[in-house]
Each structure stands twice: as structure tokens, then as C-alpha cells.
Symmetry: C2
Subunit: 159 residues, 2 copies
């Protein structure tokens, strides 16, 4: 039971620690902390990607890889599936989680929206890292219009 919350507690501590010791609390410092978080997420995502069962992925489409992340990766990390996945069929995917666990501890007032990015950077990295392990280079960003709904946008450049 506790390992469900263990990741969330630890993530909260990492965010708090990075912001507490940030040498530059301005936009530049914030950018560095976000980048550090994204990098940690990337490496954890890479490692997780190697351990998730991938037999069923062979010879499948890009869309199937994204579905796999929305289901298997999300369940492994957050004990729930992503709520929706949309695509323009040109390499852009929007993954929506209607109650993103890392945003749940925040009150849902609009005044907390500006705090949201620091709770999303790790997970953007996680998605990018898992995709990288699965052989797909991507750019992952996240946005929040209303807490705790979160949209992750995955853009896969055509090679």
C-alpha cells in the first residue's frame, strides 16, 4: 500500500528540495530546476521502459507505443490509466489525465496554476525517457488549464 504513495512523497520532496536550494529563484533558476527534474524523469523513464513488458509491441505503429505508455507506464507509476489520447496523425499526441496524481495535493484554485509546472517536469521527462527506450525521439511538454486536469503533448518529429 505504501509504495503507491512512496513515489508521490519522494517526488514532492525532490521538488521542494530543488526549489529550496535553487541558487537563483528568478526565471533562470526556475528553468534550471525544471531542467534537472526533467532530466531525472528522463532517466527514470528510460529505466522503466526497459522493464515494462514489451513483447506485444513488436512491429506495431507509433500510435500503439503511445497507447502502451498511456496504459502500462501510467499504471506502473500512477496506478491508473491515462484518461484520453488524441492525435492529429501527424506526429502530435495529446495525453490527458483528468486527475493527475502529482497535482492532486494542490488545492484546485486558479492561484496555484503558476505552481503547476514544477509538478509536471519530472513526468514530461518520464514520458520522453520511456519513448527513447522504445526507439522514439520526442519533445514532451505539459499544460494545465484547470487543476488537477493535465495535458501532456508529445511531438514526434518526422525523420
Amino acid at each position: 500500500m505504501a509504495d503507491t504513495v512512496l513515489f508521490e512523497f519522494l517526488h514532492t520532496e525532490i521538488v521542494a528540495e530543488l526549489w529550496a536550494h535553487d541558487p537563483d529563484p528568478g526565471p533562470g533558476g526556475q528553468k534550471m530546476s525544471l531542467s534537472v527534474l526533467e532530466g531525472m524523469g528522463f532517466r527514470v523513464g528510460q529505466a522503466l521502459g526497459e522493464r515494462l513488458p514489451r513483447e506485444t509491441l513488436a512491429f506495431r505503429e507509433e500510435l500503439d507505443v503511445l497507447k502502451f505508455l498511456c496504459k502500462d507506464l501510467w499504471v506502473a507509476v500512477f496506478q491508473k490509466q491515462m484518461d484520453s489520447l488524441r492525435t492529429n496523425h501527424q506526429g502530435t499526441y495529446v495525453l490527458q489525465d483528468n486527475s493527475f496524481p502529482l497535482l492532486l495535493p494542490m488545492a484546485s484554485g486558479l492561484q496555484y496554476l503558476e505552481e503547476a509546472p514544477k509538478f509536471l517536469a519530472f513526468t514530461c521527462g518520464l514520458l520522453r525517457g520511456a519513448l527513447c527506450t522504445l526507439g522514439i525521439e520526442s519533445v514532451v511538454t505539459a499544460s494545465v488549464a484547470a487543476l488537477p486536469i493535465c495535458k501532456f503533448q508529445v511531438v514526434i518529429p518526422k525523420s
Copy 2:
């Protein structure tokens, strides 16, 4: 499956991050990073302590609280129980894990022993934090004589 390793991956990243960005790689800097890790562990331990089932703890002895940590807390975090618990019956407890999961990724050579403390600080804090939530102030240290065997010493000052 993956959340078993998720905590370990994330812990590894935190250690790497703290040591990579340590402003002072000397003994003073190392001490600060260890203290940061211990503090993160403490707060996670406090939070976990609040969520573990404690009904059975009411009106019990200090030793029972320690047994609870060796069993319930350890299983929640590491999916295994502590291997042994000894006490001098004067407030000192030695908890031994014969294959401590956070040390397992390290090769078992003697040359890695000096690297061990950075992989123990978080867990020392975790024990101290959980004990604190359970109403017991303590000092927790850890030592490794041969990888991956780890001893945690919990000293509870008599009030």
C-alpha cells in the same frame, strides 16, 4: 511491478543529482548532501508513518514499535522484511538487512564501501521520521561492513 523499482530508480537519481551539483565536493559538501538526503527521508518517513496501519500498536512497548518498522515499514518501502533486530534493552536497537535493496546495484567489492553512506542517509531519515510520527525521538545511523549487508542503529535517548 514497476513501482517496486520506481522508488529505487528515483532514489538513485536523487543521490546522483545531489552529488553532481554539490557546490563543495569535499567533506563539508558531502556532509550537506547527506543531511539533505536524511531530511528528505525524515519527511517521507513521517508521512508514511501516518499511513501505515497502526491499530495494533496501541499501548505497546518500544520494542514493538521497532518490530513494526522492521516488518510493516520495510515491506511498504522495500517489499521485504528486515532480517534481524537486536537490542541491549537500554534504548539501542540494531536492525540488520542482509541484502539492503539500495545497496544491491553496487558491486560488492571493498572499494565501493566508501560510496555506501550516500545510499544510506535517506533510509536513516526514513526510520527517524517514522519513529517521530509514532511518538519516539531517536538518532539513527547506518554502517556497512560488507556489501550489501547493512546495519541501522537506532538509539532512543531515555527521557
